[in-house]
Every structure is written in C-alpha cells, then in structure tokens.
Assembly symmetry: C2
Homo-oligomer: 631 residues x 2
C-alpha cells in the first residue's frame, strides 16, 4: 500500500465489546453479540442485536483500504435481474473541485468499482417489489433471524405493554418480514451497489432503530474522522448512518464510508447538487440533481432524503413562525421555489426519481423540510401541510414498489407528540416514521440529547420505527467522537425504553439479566450487560477503585454495613415457608376508607404468619439496607 498516503491509513476502533462474543447464527450466519455472565450466575449468555459489523469480530481481517466483504453480492446476482455497466465518470465538481488536480482533496478509494449494478431494462430490484410478488429474499430471511434474537426460547415470557395498534409478533418469520415490506409497513434499505451491508428492517413491528449522522462541514472535519465516526457509531449501536457531508471531497468521502459500512448509508443528495452549482440554490436544475442521484446510486447509498414535500404553496405558511424553516434541505428548496416562483422540481419530477430508486433499490426518506425548529412552531399548518403531501408521495412511490419512510420533527412539546404519530400513520399508510427527537423543550442547549431523548422514547413508543440521534452539541457545534457515543447510547436507551413499553417480547430479557446481576452484586455482569460497559465501570471505580470491590457485596452508595439487597433473601426464606402470599387487595381499587380496613386485615393476617415463622426459624439474619435509589 506504498501508494497510499499515510494520512489515509485510518485508525478505526476494532476488537470485541468487553464481555461480549461475536456469534453468527443460522445458515445465513447472522451476526449477533453474546454477553457472557459469571459462572456463579448459572445463567446462559444474553444475546443482543449487533450493528457493529466485522469490526468487533476478532476473527475478521479489517483492511480499510480493501473495504468490507460483499456479503450480499451473490444474493443479488442470483436473482438474475441486474446488469453491470460502465459507471458514470467522476467529475472534479463531484468533489467540489474546480479542476482535475486532487492534491488538495482526499485520494480515491483503492480498487474502485468501475462497473456498478443496476436493474436490467424493465426490471425492478426493490425488496418491496420482490415482497409483493411473494418472493422471500435472503435479505428478508436475514432480518427475521436478526430480529428474533432467540425469541423462540422466550415462550415462557408473559407479554404486556401498550403498542398503540402495532402488530409485533411473538416470533418473526421470513414470511412476516416479506408481508411487512410488501404492505410498506417496513423497509429494508439495500442498494444493490452496497453489498457490504448486513440486512436490517425499519418498521414499527420490529425493534426500534436509531440513526447517527456524520459528515464534514464547510468549517471542520476530514475523511479519516468521518470513517472513524462511522465505525465508532455502529460500535455503540447505530442501525443506519447518514453522511451529511458538505463542501469538498463529498464524493470520495462517501466512497470510503460506503465501502467500509456494514449498515445502510443515507444521504441528502440536494447538498451535493448545491455544491455543484457553487451554493447558489437558484442555479439548481433537475438535470444536475438527477445526475447527482445517479452518481450516489452507483456508489451504493441505501436511502435518499428527498424534500419533495416542500411545495410552493406551503412556503408562506412558515412566515408566522418563530424559527421559520430550519431544515437545510427544506430551505434550499424554499429558496429555489421563491426565486423561480415555480413548483419544486423534486415534486414535479417525483415519478422520474422513483424510476431511479427502483433500478438500484434505494429507499425514500421523504424529508420534512418544514418541520418545526422550536416549541412555538410545533404541529402548525406548514408542518402538517407538508406531511399530507408526503402521504400523497408515499402512495405514488408505492405504485412503483419503491420503499419509503417518512421523516418527522423536530421540536415538539410532549402533549403534541402523539398527534404527529397518529397523523403520520393515517396519512402515510403506516410507512415507517423516522423522527429527529423530537426535542421537548428549547431551553437546554448542551443537553439536547436529553431533551430529545425524552421525546424520542415517547414517539418510539407510539410507533416511530427509527429515531435519528441528537448529540449534546446540537444547536452549538460539530459532535466529536465522545459526543457521537453519548448521542448513540442515549438513543439506544430511548429506543429500548420504547421497545419495553410497546411490549416487545424479547426486550425485557436484558433488563432482567442486568437487574439480577445488580441484585447479586455481579458487578462485571452489570457493566457488561449495560449499553456502555466502559463508562459504567469507570463511574464505579471512581469511588471504589479496588479490584476487590468488583466482587464486594456492597456498593459505595451505602457502604458495607448497609445493603437492602440482602434483606430480600430473608423475605424469600419467609415466603417460601408460607403456603400462599398475603392477599393482594391492590387490584380492588379501594377508597381511602376501604383501604384502611383492608390494610388492617392484611396486617392481622401477617401477624399470624409471622408468629408461625417465629416458631419455625431462629437463624440470625444479616442486616441489610442498601437503597440504591437514595432512601
């Protein structure tokens, strides 16, 4: 690799996540992660969904210059509906350069694919097209295995939860995946030119997914850090990654990211199109935009954010807003419409765009260019008018069997979140909702991963299929490596909280395993079962650094003398000796007065039991009182 300048020998994070082992399940070798617990627990390993790709597999050889193995290549070729052809020639302007001199830029990815794939004339290679013809693709089988996480072993689990009309199955079959994709309720972003991607589904009847945004900007960043951000963000759980790069080297940066990404990559093509016209929105044309779509389609981008819902007539509706139009793509189109006093070319050429999408199986992420940028603007006329148009476009895309998801807000106070979900399901025919946050207040810059995590957990519960992360730097600056991790982990916990509340059959397994570990003072298991083992252990060690503390049956909150966990064993010993538990009058829904009476009755019952116990046992009991929760 002597021909490769040192600056592009990218350092990416590899190696297993601590306490975990990479496994490959079933005939398709679906990648999963197993968290192994201390032998003392007597518990089997806990299987968790794994987005990290080969980077966490010690047996995998990672070579950024070569890219990842083409997992899906054979599946794609076997369908016999694609053809190779000479790729569109890469132009200097693709990288924001004036001429052929690339010394200032990023060098091209080695072994560039010169002959990409596209559908044969008249063919449609979208997963939705196959699904609607009753075909179960390997991608669908992969998704089914991946989503189950051994759910078959959970037959015993009692399900509860409120899913607001979702239809989460006890067990995910390939046929279920096919049916969800066929009806448009789920998508499997899988550009045929991104065979490195591990199939995943985005839909309300699957695990809630999260997206991480990366990308350079006009002000900072370079390609090495972008690829590192990709690997770093999927290590912590990002299900898809959007490359929102602007400025120079967009094309080459994207190539490096795609060839090294095991997760679907999304982009906002209008950003690059705008670069090609020197940042002058008025100079944008359908031809330039179309050429950009082809350019990115050949590279393998899995979904495109297209702001085709920003229609001329809606732009004035943003006038009364406190923060107007905050979507970059939305304002580019608004500017174009105002300048040309014409309807958006994205809307006018929508069906032509769809023709391109189906030739590569690129999914639509219909952008919400008029989303609210402040609490004051939430759920207003501009926002919902656009949503109704996105509904119209969803049905138009489906006519050509092209996969669609819908982007959502933004800044929305809690009491207005549910209306967003309900309208989206109604208007867009249950196409997957993909929301940014929403942020539930405007007053906490520096903490917007939290203000938005609150809204994300709720809208995920209500039915959003994928949550776009927000980092602590939101509104303030560009996220660094630590910000990306905090954003991803925050959104993973919000997505998990949503899965729990929806009653996902497998979600609580991990909570219960961690709680048992906590109760039994298996500190290492607690760390390893958490979303961020390093941080958990580091926080623990700040107070109790001694290695012995890892196995100590107490924690720093209460000290060795106090520990409430201990008391429970006594309680269990006691209960074990009872024929039945004390009567529960809880369900009865008693009034204050009745309660007093029932309370007394239960007390008396308890006295008898305790007297009986007194005769039975004598062993001294260890004193415990360790209230983890502060009292």
């Amino acid at each position: 690799m002597a021909d490769v300048p040192a600056r592009t020998e990218m350092r990416v994070t590899t190696g297993p996540i601590r306490g975990s082992k990479k496994i490959h399940v079933g005939p398709l070798k679906v990648a999963m992660r197993e968290i192994h617990l201390e032998p003392s627990s007597g518990e089997p390993p806990v299987r968790v969904y794994d987005t990290s790709g080969p980077y966490t597999d010690p047996d995998a050889r990672i070579d950024i210059m070569a890219g990842l193995p083409a997992l899906r290549r054979d599946w794609i070729m076997a369908r016999g509906d694609v053809e190779e052809y000479d790729a569109r020639e890469i132009k200097p302007e693709d990288n924001g350069l004036k001429g052929p001199d690339r010394s200032a830029g990023v060098q091209p990815f080695p072994n560039l694919v010169k002959r990409p794939l596209r559908a044969r004339a008249g063919a449609n290679v979208s997963q939705m097209h196959y699904a609607r013809r009753g075909i179960i693709t390997p991608e669908m089988e992969y998704v089914a295995e991946r989503e189950n996480l051994g759910r078959a072993r959970l037959a015993s689990y009692v399900r509860d939860g409120e899913s607001f009309g979702a239809s989460i199955p006890d067990y995910v079959t390939p046929e279920f995946v096919r049916d969800e994709v066929a009806r448009g309720r789920a998508i499997i972003p899988s550009n045929i030119n991104h065979p490195e991607s591990e199939p995943m589904a985005i839909g309300r009847n699957f695990l809630v997914k999260i997206n991480a945004n990366i990308g350079n900007s006009a002000v900072a960043s370079d390609v090495a850090s972008e690829v590192d951000k990709l690997v770093w963000s999927i290590r912590w759980g990002a299900d898809t990654v959007m490359d929102l790069s602007t400025g120079r080297n967009i094309h080459d940066t994207r190539e490096w990211i795609l060839r090294n990404s095991p997760v679907p990559i999304g982009t906002v093509p209008i950003y690059q199109a705008l670069e090609k016209v020197g940042g002058i929105a008025e100079d944008l044309t359908w031809e330039i935009f179309r050429d950009t779509l082809i350019e990115q389609a050949e590279q393998g981008v899995d979904y495109f954010t297209i702001h085709a819902g920003v229609r001329l007539a809606y732009i004035p509706m943003a006038a009364r807003r406190v923060t107007g139009i905050v979507s970059r793509g939305g304002s580019i189109m608004a500017k174009w419409c105002l300048a040309h006093h014409r309807e958006s070319f994205l809307y006018d050429h929508f069906d032509e765009i769809t023709e391109i999408m189906k030739a590569y199986d690129i999914a639509y992420s219909l952008g919400d260019g008029l989303r609210p940028g402040s609490i004051a603007d939430a759920n207003d006329e501009a926002q919902f008018s656009e949503l109704y148009t996105l509904g119209e476009l969803t049905h138009r895309a489906w006519k050509q069997d092209v996969q669609v998801m819908i982007e959502g807000p933004g800044h929305v106070p809690m009491h207005k979140i549910k209306e967003n979900m309900e309208k989206q399901l109604q208007v867009c025919g249950e196409a997957p909702f993909y929301t940014l946050g929403p942020l539930t207040t405007d007053i906490a810059p520096g903490y917007d991963h939290i203000t938005s995590g609150i809204g994300a957990a709720q809208i995920g519960w209500y039915g959003t299929a994928m949550l776009c992360y927000v980092t602590p730097k939101e509104h303030l600056g560009l996220p660094d490596r630590d910000d990306v991790k905090v954003g991803v982990v925050t959104y993973k916990l919000a997505a998990h909280a949503a899965d729990l509340a929806k009653g996902h059959p497998a979600a609580q397994v991990r909570d219960d395993a961690l709680s048992r570990a906590r109760f039994e003072f298996r500190w290492r298991d607690q760390f390893n079962l958490s979303l961020d083992p390093e941080t958990a252990e580091q926080y623990h060690d700040q107070t109790l650094p001694a290695e012995g503390a890892k196995s100590a049956h107490f924690c720093s909150m209460c000290g060795p003398k106090f520990c409430s966990m201990k008391i429970t064993q006594e309680v269990r010993d006691f209960a074990a000796k009872k024929n039945q538990p004390a009567d529960g009058f809880v369900e009865a829904g008693l009034t204050g007065a009745e309660t007093a009476a029932a309370s007394k009755a239960a007390a008396l019952k308890g006295m008898e039991e305790m007297s009986r116990l007194f005769k039975e046992k004598g062993s001294e009991l260890y004193m415990g009182a360790g209230g983890r929760d502060h009292d």
Copy 2:
C-alpha cells in the same frame, strides 16, 4: 474566626449566574432572576424562578460560619403561637461518636441556637392548619408572588396543553395558595426552626419542582463537600435538598447545611436512628426514633421521609421480586418487622409522630419503602399495597392538619407510569406526589439520569409535583460536583418539559425567547437563556472559539454559506405582501386521495401568489440553508 479550623472554611460558589441579575419583587422582596438580552433584541429581560438564594446576589454578604439571614423569623414570631425552650442536649451518638471527644469529627456550627422554637401547648403551627382556618400567611404570599413570575404580563398568551385534571390558574393569588394547602393538594415545607428558607410550594398546580440528594456515606465524603453540594445544587435549580448522610457527624453536618440553606431540607430520620444503635435494625426502638425526630425537628429539618407504609403483611409480597426491597429505609423496617414479627413501630406510632410534626410544621414525605428496583418489579402487589396504606396515613395526618407528600417509584417502564400517578391521586386524595425518576429501563447504568429523566418528564406531565433527581452515578457510585450539576440540569429540563406539556401559562416564555435568540443568532442570549450557560458556550467555542463567532450570523453546523434562518425573512417579506396565508387544509383530516387533490389546489393558489410577487419584488436574496436539525 481564628478558632475555626481551616478545613471548615468552606469554599462555596457565589456570584450571579452569567447574564442574569438578582431581583427582589414585591413587599416581601421575593427573590427572582432576570436574564437580560442584547439591546438589539428589543426584548425585556426574561424572569425565571430562582432557587439559588443569596449566594447569587452580589449585594449579599456570604458567611458560611454565620449562616443565612432568618428571613421568616419575624413572620413566625408574629403569629404568637410558638415558644422558645431549652434544646435537647446533643449527645456523642448524635454524631456517631462513642464519647465526648469530637476531634475526629466535624466541629459544631458556631453560634448554635440553644433555644429552638416549638408550638405552644395545644397549638398547631403547620401551614395547613393556618390555611384551613382561612389564614393567608406571609409564606403563602411569598409563594404566590414567586410562582407568578410576572404571569400578569402574559394575558396575551394562548394556553394549550393537557394537564390530566390539574387546575393550574392563569394567575396565582395568595388565596389560591391557601386553598391548595388547605385541601392538601400542595405543601409549603417550612419548619419554624429553619427561618432561613425561602417559602416554596410543592403541588401539581404549581411549577414542577425538583429535589437533589446530598449526603456523605460510610465510604466517602466530608462536611465541606456536603455544604458545597448544597450551594452548588441550588445554584442550578434544586428546589429542595435531602441530606441522606449516614455514618459519623450526621448531626453537625446537618446543622451546617440547614443554617446555610435557603431551600427546604429533607431527611430520612431512620438513618440516624440506626446509627445510634450501631446499625443493628433489631435494636431500633420507638423511643430512640422519637428522640431522633425531636433532635432533627429542633435543627429545622423541613420534611421527614417516614416509611410507615412498610407493613408486616406486605413484606412477603417482595419475595417474588427480581430485586426485592431496594429502599434503604424500607429494608431497615422490613428487617425490624421480620426480627420482631411485629407491626412496624412507625405505623403503630404514626399519630404520635404526627403530633411532633405539627409542633414544628414538618411535612411528611411518606416513603415508598417497597418501590420497584427493576422493570420486572414495577406496579406489583407489594408496591401498590404500600401505596394504599400511604393513602390511609395521608388522611390520618390530615386529621391533625399536618402537611403530606407521597414518595413514588423507582423503576417503571413507560406504559406503567400513568397507572402510578392515577392510583396515587385516587388513594392519597391528591396529596403531592414526589417521585424518583422513574427509570424507564435497567440497562443503562452511567446514563440513568437520562433513563429516569424520560420517566420524570412523563410523570411530571401526568401530575407529579416534585421530581427527585438521579445522577449519572446512580447504581454505580457517589455523585461528585459535576454529577450533581448534570443531575440537576437534567431534572430541570424534565420538569420544564412537563410544565410545557401541562400548559403552564408562563412556561413557554423562556423557550420562545431562546428560540428567537437562536433564530437571530444572538449567541450570548442563547447561552444565557439556557439552563447551563457555561456548558452551552463551551460547546459552541469548541468549534468556533473566535470571539467574532459570537456575533456571526452562522454556526459551525452549516458554515457561513448555509443558513436556513436567513430564508425565513424572505418568506416573511413574501407573506407580508399577501392578503392572507395559503389555506390550511391540515385540520380537515383528509384521506390520501383527498390530500393529493387539496395539495394540488394549494399549489395552484401558490403559483398565482408567486407570480404576483414576481411583479412586486426584485431584490436579490441571500442564500441560506442552515438546518440546525441535521438536514
């Protein structure tokens, strides 16, 4: 102060919060904070609720050795229903010491009050007692002024929100406060021996409050850091502080905290009682506990957490749990009950405890000793059985006009949160609910301020009056100064998100002011209006450190060429020229087909408008596209 060892010359944080000015409003000089905006904004200062006390007042002289001025002393004396008496003698065991030698401990607070106050024989000095007799106390007047935050000026504001049956008034009158206290729907914790406290109300019809816990432990910490934590936590917005100290020097630590606290202080007396019997729960007696209540009552503790709901008969119900009993106080009592096979002495002596409470006006915080410590244990028989008993005790305390709030969980998945609020309101006669979190998942140790902030925002929206904060160290270690700040700010934003969703008439003023500042690139105003100005500016400066960037009309996310904020002015110019906005067909609730039609109609309408505009204007428009929200 030569006689004072250097180690107790506590360094506490003083000085105004940046961009803010301390003001004192009305005849009672109610402390508030005004955030001043750049003159270019043409906006008045934004008034915000201020818990920081004199520490942020440049005109106040802070002397930790002397303590704070006795703001309420005259009000208390003027009521003529209290008497001074010789304080209970402080014993070595009060500080966990074996003998009179205190060299190992914390030296006593200088100028200790030797003659505390208590109600004259037969009198009742609780705010509830006054309220029920129709008396409006200065404390109630103070609260009214404090809660209004100049709401009178907000007549124009349109209220929305879903309050789930709360009765938040447009304007808070002293009579409203009296009525809320009289019916038990709000409390004003105000021990007559803590005259330094600035009156505040806890109730669902007032701003949602937050509590911060501090306290040493058997493993770490000292008094200096405890008092510093107090001042630090109220600086960022803690409305009350609980001293959960255990181990040595409990008495003196508490004295230092109380004499320097402008906010109500809560404790869990059973912790100290347990210290007095060497940590052996079986050795606890009613007499020792009662003596501890008097000791703390004389010091001025404003509310006591009493786990009187942990009844003998409920203990077995915790047997089937994954994490059993996680409340420290709860497990102490469970242990006592099991050891003596007798009903809890807290329950048996409840009315006697109430006699003490009313003599000093100490409020009950009825502890949830059986709260769930894991998702698996949420809303179970043990938890709700205890809740019903807390309901019974609430009504018993109210018979003696003693103020009561109820503590709540814990670990609860989102779909089970609302049931907690509804049952509490029903069973406890709308007594204020005071919840810890709840944590909505168990799998994110290190991020539990967020897993719990998600639950806290929701339960606050449903009606919880005060949210007990959780720090990033929850379950792992003792919070340090930074953890306390992150915990407080996270809970402030959760409480504010709840106020917004409830439709609090004044809540959105701050969001709108910040959003306007954001839209107009008034960076300093953005920082100053945020909950944590330092962090917001620091994050901004990591990408754009130059001083000029503070006034730059762009940010690092998009760079100078892109900025969506700009486009909106054009939109406004356009709209201003229109007679009316484009018709909103949003409310109509259209089907996909109807939408397409309406969408087209609106588009045509837009075309005409734009054509008209074209004739009217010619000025070149600045290109903008800065999507703060990532696209």
